[in-house]
């Protein structure tokens, strides 16, 4: 049962959409419901010991899980498809922007910033295609970004924040360091962000 769950989790993780506990119960655990937490724990241990991955719960109300990489970062090239790499690049930029702007930005502000990088919501991007779908759809579904409507705005505006997956997969400290590196400055230059990270 445990190995079935491990396989299930690994396959489900391909799309990077968080895995719901209900799905786990239905597809794999089935009639062993009572042993559920034991099976999950064992699966988690296997994932850690064999694959170096950590099973993390990101929502306790409707229990959902993600897999993150627990191994220390290796030097050198990363085995990753180009498409994925490019998306991660864009994601880092967005997350950096949100963080440096105080952890929450209006959607208009975000798109205004992306304009400066030749990324336009209306225009198909030669690397990303439909960027708006990518940012508001895929990144949100994968829980990298979280979007909340701003109350009583007309037309409705949204704000963007870091999603739970982003919180687990990347640290504010790393983001600040990355920004500092790109701008050729010391991370302490931004006092309040530095203290938060």
């Amino acid at each position: 049962q445990v190995s079935e769950l491990v396989q299930f989790l690994l396959v489900k993780d391909q799309k990077k959409i968080p895995i719901k506990r209900a799905d786990m119960l239905k597809s794999v655990i089935g009639e062993y419901k009572d042993a559920y937490s034991e099976i999950v724990n064992k699966a988690g241990r296997t994932l850690q010991e064999v694959f170096g991955l950590q099973l993390v719960e990101i929502d306790s109300k409707r229990p959902t899980y993600i897999l993150i990489n627990n191994l220390p970062h290796a030097e050198g090239k990363y085995l990753c498809r180009n498409k994925e790499k490019e998306k991660m690049g864009l994601l880092l930029v967005i997350l950096s922007f949100i963080f440096m702007k105080g952890n929450s930005v209006k959607d208009s502000a975000l798109w205004e910033f992306l304009h400066l990088l030749a990324v336009y919501p209306g225009k198909p991007h030669c690397t990303f295609g439909d960027v708006q779908k990518l940012v508001t759809g895929e990144f949100v579904r994968q829980k990298y970004l979280e979007t909340t409507p701003i109350p009583l705005t007309d037309p409705p505006e949204f704000k963007y924040q870091w999603g739970p997956r982003a919180e687990k997969e990347i640290s504010k400290k790393d983001v600040l360091n990355s920004v500092a590196k790109i701008q050729g400055k010391n991370p302490t230059f931004w006092a309040s962000q530095y203290s938060e990270a």
């Binding site: 993600i66 990753c80 180009n82 880092l92 950096s96 440096m100 962000q193």
Partner: protein
């Protein structure tokens, strides 16, 4: 509506509005008015939060334009005078190379603790079309290195065909025995009548071979009748019978039969 005015950090208009609302609330006696008041509070707090945010970012001024510029540099922008092109990578003041975002991605991957996506190395192998029983059940396990599986699978097939033939024969003989017994369960068959094929010695030997399987598996029994001649009958499947069968299996009989005798 005066959102912008209120947002101005130098203005106290938000505070004034709050105080006014407070005063008005005392005169409220209808639910609708209270609802309006609540709505106002939500709006006011949202504005308040935004104001606070503005203050916050002013403290550690983050210049997003400068950041954008630096990002472009990092991604390898070619700063040239660009004519009207419809290349979507063009940016005011230059254009980005094809691998711009790839470079960004390399940087990003250093920080993300992203679980590598799981893909089967060899893909799943095709399952055989269902073949009559006796085939060893193949499990559809998604493991790597399925190419190796192809080899032992083939070898298994060869062995099985021998085994299959034998087992089929054994079954056939068992069925004959059983059918005969269905018709007349009190007359056991003479063993020799059963196995000897008057026309073929080889067949006789084969029959003996197959019957020995039945005996070994406890599906048939050989007994001696009144004339001390061996008879054979199928065993009834009964739970208690198991122990007897095992005891019975201890008796080995060597039948010596050569062509002369057979004749």
């Amino acid at each position: 509506e005066n959102r912008e005015a209120m947002l101005n950090s130098k203005s106290n208009r938000l505070t004034e509005a709050l105080e006014e609302a407070n005063a008005l609330f005392d005169g409220v006696c209808r639910a609708r008015e209270a609802a309006l008041d609540a709505q106002f509070l939500v709006l006011a707090s949202s504005i308040g939060k935004e104001k606070a945010n503005e203050l916050h970012s002013e403290m550690s001024a983050f210049d997003s334009t400068a950041y954008a510029e630096d990002l472009l540099t990092f991604m390898g922008i070619n700063r040239t005078e660009v004519e009207e092109t419809d290349d979507s990578e063009d940016v005011p003041g230059g254009f980005l190379p094809k691998d711009a975002w790839l470079k960004m991605g390399e940087e990003a991957l250093k920080y993300f603790k992203r679980a590598p996506t799981f893909h089967y190395m060899m893909g799943s192998f095709e399952s055989e079309p269902p073949v009559p029983k006796q085939r060893i059940e193949r499990q559809k396990k998604a493991s790597r290195g399925k190419a190796e599986r192809a080899m032992p699978a083939q070898l298994k097939k060869m062995e099985e065909s021998h085994q299959e033939a034998t087992e089929k024969e054994v079954e056939r003989i068992l069925r004959i025995l059983q059918t005969h017994f269905e018709d007349d369960s009190n007359t056991p068959i003479s063993f020799f009548d059963f196995v000897i094929d008057p026309h073929s010695f080889a067949r006789t030997v084969e029959n003996l071979f197959h019957v020995s399987f039945l005996i070994r598996d406890g599906l048939a029994r050989i007994k001696l009748d009144e004339d001390k001649l061996p008879i054979i009958e199928p065993t009834k499947p009964s739970g208690g019978g198991e122990e007897d069968d095992r005891a019975g299996a201890r008796n080995q009989v060597i039948i010596n039969l050569d062509q002369k005798e057979w004749k």
